[in-house]
Amino acid sequence: MNETVNIRELNEHIQAESSFVDILNMEMGKVIVGQKHLTESLLIGLLSDGHILLEGVPGLAKTLAIKTLADTVKASFSRIQFTPDLLPADLIGTMVYSQKDESFVVKKGPVFANFVLADEINRSPAKVQSALLEAMQEKQVTIGAQTFALDQPFLVLATQNPIEQEGTYPLPEAQVDRFMLKVVIDYPQKEEERLIIRQNLAAEFPKAETVLAPEDILRAREVVRQVYMDEKIERYILDLIFATRYPQEYKLEKLQPMISYGGSPRAGICMAKAAKAYAFIKRRGYVIPEDVRAVCYDVLRHRIGLTYEAEAENMTTVDIITEILNMVEVP
């Protein structure tokens, strides 16, 4: 009975704490037309302390969405355009000699911000990507002999363009795995695009107001952690992850030759975290299977390796996830 009361209290608590979600959505909606999934995914990343990889053709408001999210939170924002000649020092900072003090002083790089937009991350070579991904994982940066903890919240939002592969350095699987979500953005609807054109032709482009402080985000993250996840949901997440590794155990023998490797344990952790954050956004104190299914594609999309056979049959990871969702029993 106590547990019941706790859940009810938690539900009420979360409903109260998640009220900012509507305000945040409203502010973002002033600038970003449509792209509901994108804004939801950004919120999930923000609330569950996970980094996001955005993929979409140019002009789909990837950068604008991230910039707007940063505007709504009173937090520092920096944008790094990844280029082939970018160096790790350009990202994390370096030691410069001060003639005045006759000593080396630390000059921090753009990674020292709450929101870091790594634009076209696949344009830079592996050593620069590694420098950023290390900062993402460790949440600290070492320059010379000094180690600096990065400010919280620290959220990296990287973008990559799927159509231009010439002169790019695709992220290795191990590094892609560090992104909690990989969000694929599609073109807006016709009506939405009409509004976008109208908005851009207006004399003044709308601007999002700052409605949150970094402390609010940190507090919300604490609340998200408290969202109740039943054992049945845990088992459902495990079933989905294991189905990517051993599809034959879930009556998906036909997928076995299509998958070279399945989701890592990090995939399960990310799915659980993202599902909790999604439940929070939906202002619920508990996770239901719908939450898991809502984040499943973004969590698993970049964590399933395809074989040559799958590529020959034009099968994508999305097709595989769909098959798995259609076969794994919902609790």
Binding site: P289, E329, V330
Partner: protein, 345 residues
């Protein structure tokens, strides 16, 4: 004039022999067959013998595959060199020849280039003849093989190619005899097919709901297993009745799926929606509903099944019986299309 011609003739006679004598003394060539006649296709030797003295080099011809068109060379032995008793050098070479053309064949003089003391000349072999006889035709007899057909030894793989089918046949025969003996011992006819009755989804659902009610789960505090079983029974029924993939769908998806297949009973839809919503809260949010709700949702489930059931009869199908179950064959078995899982949670 006549005297002049006589003197010239004498001079020619006196002068020529010394040259001819040089060549005859320097090298002498002879060729011969083992026999002057053979039967068509027979093989005999052809011998070339050269005797020479002094610094003379005689080049033997390069033997091809025929001596002449009608005589074929089968084998060429290496040249053999030996010294004769009178100190001359004897070079011989043996060839094996055959002929498939009947008639008399002559081997024309064969040229052997000769080099002696700065002089080049050519030595020619004498002409050799060979008579080839054909077989006499016996028209009185029928055509028959010269030799019988050669019989190759039989290999293991050839034996196995036949033996495996024989073995397989014997095994099948043994299996049939064994089954027949088993049937005879049990004193009942051998049946290879069993009748299965596939029950309509509503029959299964109503029976399972009745069983769930009888188990009194929620009355004993097992609220979560009660709602898990209740929703599983309804989901299984929806799968069977409407073809909606309900077991692999969330509550929202099931309700949307029902709308997609044309389910338009607003009252029942609302009851289902409330039941699924409450079940989700019980299953995933530890909610404890009021006891009256537990009974209400059971009644709603029964109502939903009874209202939406199709008036269909149990379906009978014949299916092959696995060998292990052959003993129980002939029994009528009742099965259900989808059996709800006992989650136990």
């Amino acid at each position: 004039m006549r005297n002049v011609l006589t003197v010239l003739s004498l001079l020619l006679v006196l002068l020529l022999p010394p040259f001819a004598g040089v060549r005859a003394q320097t090298a002498q060539l002879d060729v011969r067959f083992d026999s002057t006649y053979i039967l068509i296709g027979d093989q005999i030797g052809f011998h070339v013998v050269l005797e020479q003295s002094g610094p003379v080099t005689v080049t033997f011809p390069e033997w091809k595959d025929t001596l002449i068109k009608a005589i074929e060379i089968l084998k060429v032995a290496p040249r053999d060199t030996a010294a004769t008793q009178d100190g001359r050098l004897r070079i011989s070479q043996d060839l094996v020849i055959t002929s498939f053309d009947s008639g008399l064949h002559f081997v024309p003089p064969i040229p052997f280039p000769l080099y002696a003391g700065g002089t080049r000349d050519t030595l020619f072999s004498p002409v050799a003849g060979l008579q080839v006889f054909s077989l006499p035709l016996d028209t009185a007899q029928a055509i028959f093989d010269i030799k019988p057909v050669y019989r190759m030894p039989v290999t293991i793989s050839e034996i196995w190619a036949v033996a495996r089918w024989v073995l397989l046949g014997m095994l099948l025969l043994a299996a049939l005899i064994f089954l027949w003996l088993v049937a005879v011992r049990k004193k009942k006819p051998l049946e290879l097919f069993r009748t299965r009755v596939i029950e309509p989804p509503h029959v299964v659902a109503l029976r399972d709901l009745e069983q769930l009610r009888g188990e009194k789960l929620w009355q004993n505090g097992q609220i979560k297993p009660y709602y898990t079983r209740l929703t599983d029974i309804v989901r299984t029924y929806i799968s069977g009745r409407y073809g909606v993939n309900a077991m692999e769908s969330t509550s929202e998806e099931i309700l949307a799926g029902l709308k997609d297949v044309g389910f338009n009973d607003a009252l029942l839809y609302g009851k289902l929606e409330r039941m699924f919503s409450c079940a989700d809260l019980v299953k995933f949010a530890k909610m404890t509903p009021h006891p009256t709700e537990n009974d209400t949702y059971m009644l709603d489930a029964v109502l939903f099944v009874n209202t939406t059931k199709r008036s269909e009869q149990p379906e009978t199908v014949q299916e092959s019986v696995p060998a292990d179950d052959a003993e129980t064959a002939g029994n009528e078995e009742t099965v259900q299309k989808d059996t709800p899982k006992d989650s136990g949670q």
